[in-house]
């Protein structure tokens, strides 16, 4: 067993035995070799379920929403992006800091499980990192109570917007055709929304057809309305964990829209990384008198 998994199990045992926490949320091995999946354990005996490998991409922080009413503390393991997601939820008043025990794990980057699913386990080494991980700037947890292992050097110092820029370089009609094809694939399963730590409304406007914003008709236009609106709701709040894209059964490049907003926010209002400092207001939650002026 790898030493990190060993230490995860030890800490889980320790926390559960001492009663400091009532549950520990981590990852266990899934059905196939390329799947590692969230698990919650409530007793020290179950600690050996916990694993750490290159497919632990599921972001655990959002599971805390299910345990808001929990009496005691819940421990969760956080990679860089889980920690940013945790901050996202804190800044959105959805969880209380003192009710969570965060065990940080510096993350070497997770492999692209969709690519992995296409090959045999023997070819594991050839599987590339997930796209968001390739340009990850915050592999080390930005908030934790305890850290396992030592910090890693971020793979990138600047965000990678090359894919956004490639699309920007197209003509409007080409871009339109690109997104039409993508959004025609959408089956509106809302996995992207449900996996996203920034999507933490009690009732999503897309769940309530009476809200009047959207019908349940699944067509490219409505799918696009959903996609743009979700990206807009997440604008300035996206912690770049890439869960949306990873869970999409239709392989829609959802992060492309989120990254477009991040890029524009950086260009227009100054560099901002969501989920790092919860006391800084979000870009769409405040304004500056000298913001760029294009509307005269």
């Amino acid at each position: 067993m790898n030493p990190i998994a060993q230490e995860m199990q030890n800490i889980a045992k320790e926390l559960l035995t001492s009663g400091e926490v009532t549950a520990v949320i981590g990852w266990e091995k899934g059905t196939f070799w390329y799947q590692s999946t969230p698990v919650m354990i409530t007793s020290a005996e179950e600690a050996d379920k916990l694993i750490w490998d290159e497919f632990c991409q599921p972001n655990l922080s959002k599971y805390l929403l299910d345990y808001r009413l929990n009496e005691g503390k819940v421990a969760i393991f956080v990679k860089g992006c889980d920690a940013r997601a945790f901050n996202r939820l804190l800044q959105d008043n959805q969880i209380e800091r003192q009710k969570a025990y965060l065990i940080g794990i510096p993350c070497p980057g997770m492999k692209d499980h969709k690519q992995a699913a296409l090959v045999e386990e023997s070819a594991k080494d050839s599987v590339p990192l997930a796209k968001v991980c390739q340009s990850c700037r915050y592999p080390n947890p930005v908030v934790y109570d305890r850290l396992i292992g030592s910090e890693v050097t971020p793979r990138a110092t600047e965000p990678d917007f090359s894919d956004v820029m490639a699309l920007e370089a197209m003509t409007p009609d080409e871009r339109y055709a690109f997104w039409q094809e993508q959004h025609t694939k959408c089956i509106r399963c809302y996995a992207c929304r449900n996996a996203c730590p920034a999507c933490n409304c009690r009732n999503c406007i897309f769940s309530d057809s009476k809200s009047g914003w959207i019908s349940k008709d699944v067509n490219t236009s409505e799918n696009q309305f959903y996609a743009i609106t979700r990206a807009t709701h997440v604008a300035g709040r996206c912690v770049e964990c890439g869960q949306c894209e990873m869970v999409c059964p239709s392989n829609i490049p959802i992060m492309l829209m989120n990254k477009k907003y991040i890029k524009d926010i950086n260009d227009l209002f100054g560099k901002y990384d969501a989920g790092i400092d919860i006391d800084t207001p979000t870009p769409l939650g405040h304004y500056k008198l000298d913001d760029p002026e294009e509307f005269m």
Binding site: P172, E174, R175, S221, F225, M257, D264, K288, L289, M296
Partner: protein, 162 residues
């Protein structure tokens, strides 16, 4: 431009804040400043009330162009509404273009209550441009049931004929 577009009369939606742009449009009227009859003004208390989702909806329903108009920065009746408008629509404009809509079809403009001529100018210009690029076919969510009624009518006619 092609002859098709010469006969094309676009529909343009203008979200106008009650205190500045709506007053500016009223002033244009009082001053009898003429502009193309293609715009429809939708009055909102403040440009900060204009949810970007309204803009998307208008495009879905087949509008040819949308303008979001409010007070100049610093003049907002509610102090800060238009500063939020500015942030929201700087981003929204870019996102709409990223999705492939024609940049000409969406604009945000500041028009004050004293800028009747500016209102006239903005509307005239926007209408001209949109007229030139033709009807908007993008993002539309049309209801296509005309066929159902056409078929029904045909059958009825056939029945009557018999």
């Amino acid at each position: 431009m092609s002859s098709v577009n010469e006969n094309f009369e676009p529909k343009i939606l203008v979200f106008a804040c009650n205190w500045c742009t709506y007053a500016g449009a009223d002033l244009a009227g009082l001053s009898r400043l003429q502009y193309p009859p293609n715009v429809r003004i939708l009055r909102v208390p403040c440009s900060g009330r204009v949810n970007p989702q309204f803009v998307l909806r208008a495009f879905q329903r087949g509008i040819d162009g949308v303008l979001v108009c409010g007070c100049h920065p610093g003049d907002c009746h509610y102090t800060s509404g238009n500063y939020y408008t500015r942030r929201r629509y700087l981003l929204m404009k870019r996102m709409l273009e990223f999705m492939g809509t024609d940049p000409e079809r969406f604009q945000t403009r500041w028009i004050s209550g004293s800028e009747g001529p500016k209102f006239q100018e903005v509307i005239t210009e926007a209408t001209g441009i949109i007229k030139a690029i033709g009807p908007n076919r993008k993002m539309r969510d049309d209801l296509t049931i005309q066929a159902a009624f056409a078929q029904r009518d045909a059958e009825e006619e056939e029945g009557e004929a018999k």
